[in-house]
Amino acid sequence: MTTEVVLKIAISGVLTGLVYGLMALGLSVIFGVVRVVNFAHGEMMTIAMYLVIVFFSALGLDPLLMLVPISAVLFALGYLMQRAIINPFINRPEHSQFMLLVAVALIMVNALLLIFGPDSQGITTTYSFDSFDVGGIIIDAGKVYAAIAALIVAVALFAFFRLTLTGKAIRACADNYNGALVVGLDVKRLYSLTFGIGAACVGAAGTMLMIVTDVTPAIGPAYTLLAFVIVITGGLGSMPGAIVGGVLIGLTEALGGFFFTPSAKTMFSFAILVLVLLFRPQGIMGRKTA
């Protein structure tokens, strides 16, 4: 095996991992603040992916141009979901929240199946089959664009939480729920905003993924599971952890698949998860709780 091939596969893994990281970032943000595990996460991403198909078919818009509008649509969906469905369940036992979100996920999958049918669907952009040749290393152009966009969205999100008043208020809610109520923050509205932001992240990730892969209604649960693996590996509630986890899982699957057997590449990501749970249960970048 030449060094070029190994490098190419490693780069491909990192690029894919960045997009996965953005998807997991949404889950991490929601859990970190609202303390609700979004079991409909992957399904929400498939909605974003189908929106790309719809806009691409109807208007011929490039996914990179659709990044902001689709994120906005998903933000609205997330905001409304939190406001109308999840807020009443906030103080209920975790298994009730679990059942609620699993039901939402099932409805989403079946609605997509009814509307779009079971066939795999994809888009072909002007750069869908392009690749860069960097010193003999061939890199998928679509993955490069998707990864750059994912990085930009992630940086913008970090900046939002660090630099804006709303971002700081959301972090305050996450740090101390009662304290946030005492100082007069509208926690329910901030929760809805947070769920909306998490959904926008997944909308952006779904839009970027359409550059590199196809979508079927049935693929949602697999993405939900992947997001969990990444978030637990990176650290539940840690935003940088989600990106680091995404890259680590992307890289592990790529190199594991290449050096061992590709059919078992998912096994390697679960192996990383098991190792993290054994030796660093809070995740790579998660905080230890008392």
Binding site: V5, T16, G122, D214, A254, P262
Partner: protein
């Protein structure tokens, strides 16, 4: 003792009455069975990972009624069941359909799901005609109610090598090396197991396999698999895949700038409409060695016409042909059995001898194991978004084009 054996007037009258009832109602039962449509439970993966293929098989069901009528065969009452691409669901749905009155089952495209349904059908004593499933063990269990009008994996492989040799001889150009990639589900694994052994039996095979790569058919990204295959520098890519992975692999071939001389597929995916529609001119060139249809047979033309009428723009394929033929077997057996009695139906299916059919070969007959072992497979090639049959010569309608045009020159 003598008095005990003597038939009294009362016994005689009761016996005559019973005989009269039996004699009087039996013809009505037969008339009722022949007049009423046979209730056929059609189990397909209508949702889940194989949903697209399940829906495609359903097109074969949709176009059957009119053709059966033209052939003067009895009508079938279709009872739909969704296996959800899941073995356990397939088993449960088969039980439910039988409980709801299904008198015969067909399906279920996938070997794993078909195996589960076969167990239920045998246990309940309801005939089951498999439309598509290639794993050999299904008809090796000594089942009495399970029939398969579809070639097993070893037959698909043997015919594939025969057809490849024929094609490469005809074109005078053959690849010397190949890499074998296969999906790691029940079908893919069965094909992989048979591949090496079957290849060894065909000394004229021009290429040697440099590496075998198994992959997950539900994977979202197959770039690693293609990179690994490309690194072998093989001249040909031998594939056993499904639809979504066939599309992903083709995209990766283009992106990774690898144009093998030939893509030789021994499974679904590469010839399907969704593949051709999604990839356009990049979809041209692959050869598929699959259970297909003889384009020159009369019933093939009728089926093609019915499909074109019901689903304009859809190319006829394995899914339509073998789902239709499973229903054809059911209707033909029902006509000959004259009854919906499961045992009579099973006996009639076992005695099937349909000459006017669609698939290549002499027709539909079943051996003692319930397998149609006379089936022949074809080689087809994608050309300009259409499919042409290139081998065997006696069931072909075009000449093979080899080597494949490189992706960057299209």
């Amino acid at each position: 003792m003598a008095s005990k054996n003597r038939i009294s007037r009362r016994t005689f009258t009761a016996g005559m009455g019973a005989a009269g009832i039996v004699a009087g109602t039996a013809p009505f039962n037969i008339i009722s069975a022949q007049g009423a449509p046979l209730k056929v439970g059609v189990l397909l993966p209508r949702s889940g990972a194989q949903a697209g293929i399940g829906q495609d098989c359903q097109r074969g069901v949709d176009i059957t009624a009119g053709i059966l009528k033209d052939l003067k065969l009895p009508a079938l009452q279709i009872m739909n069941g969704d296996t959800e691409t899941n073995v356990e669901v397939a088993r449960a749905r088969a039980e439910r359909l039988i409980n709801e009155g299904a008198q015969l089952l067909i399906g279920a495209f996938d070997s794993g799901q078909s195996t589960a349904i076969a167990q239920v059908a045998e246990q309940k004593g309801i005939p089951y005609v498999i439309n598509i499933a290639a794993a050999p063990p299904i008809t090796e269990q000594g089942y009495k109610f399970v029939f398969r009008n579809f070639p097993t994996a070893p037959v698909i492989l043997a015919n594939a090598f025969e057809n490849q040799i024929e094609i490469f001889k005809a074109t005078g150009n053959a690849p010397k090396t190949a890499v074998f990639m296969h999906v790691n589900d029940t079908f893919g694994t069965a094909m992989q197991k048979g591949f090496t052994g079957t290849m060894a039996r065909f000394a004229d095979t021009p290429y040697k396999v440099l590496e075998t790569i198994a992959y997950d058919g539900t994977a979202r990204d197959l770039s690693v698999e293609v990179a690994k295959a490309k690194a072998t520098n093989a001249e040909a890519l031998v594939m056993v895949s499904r639809l979504n992975d066939a599309i992903l692999i083709t995209r990766e071939l283009v992106k990774q700038r690898w144009s093998p001389k030939a893509v030789l597929s021994m499974g679904p995916g590469w010839y399907e409409d969704q593949y051709l529609k999604t990839l356009g001119k990049l979809g041209d060139g692959p050869m598929s060695f699959v259970p297909w249809y003889d384009p020159n047979k009369k019933l093939s033309k009728a089926l093609e016409a019915a499909l074109a009428k019901a689903h304009a723009g859809v190319n006829m394929n394995t899914n339509h042909v073998y789902t239709f033929e499973a229903l054809l077997v059911a209707a033909d057996a029902y006509k000959r059995a004259g009854s919906a009695d499961p045992k009579a139906l099973a006996d009639a299916i076992r005695a099937t001898n349909i000459k006017d059919n669609v698939s290549p070969g002499p027709g539909i007959q079943f051996d003692a194991k319930g397998q149609n072992s006379a089936l022949k497979n074809s080689a087809i090639q994608n050309r300009g978004g259409k499919l042409v049959t290139i081998a065997p010569k006696e069931a072909s309608n075009a000449k093979p084009e080899h080597p494949m045009k490189p992706y960057d020159k299209r």
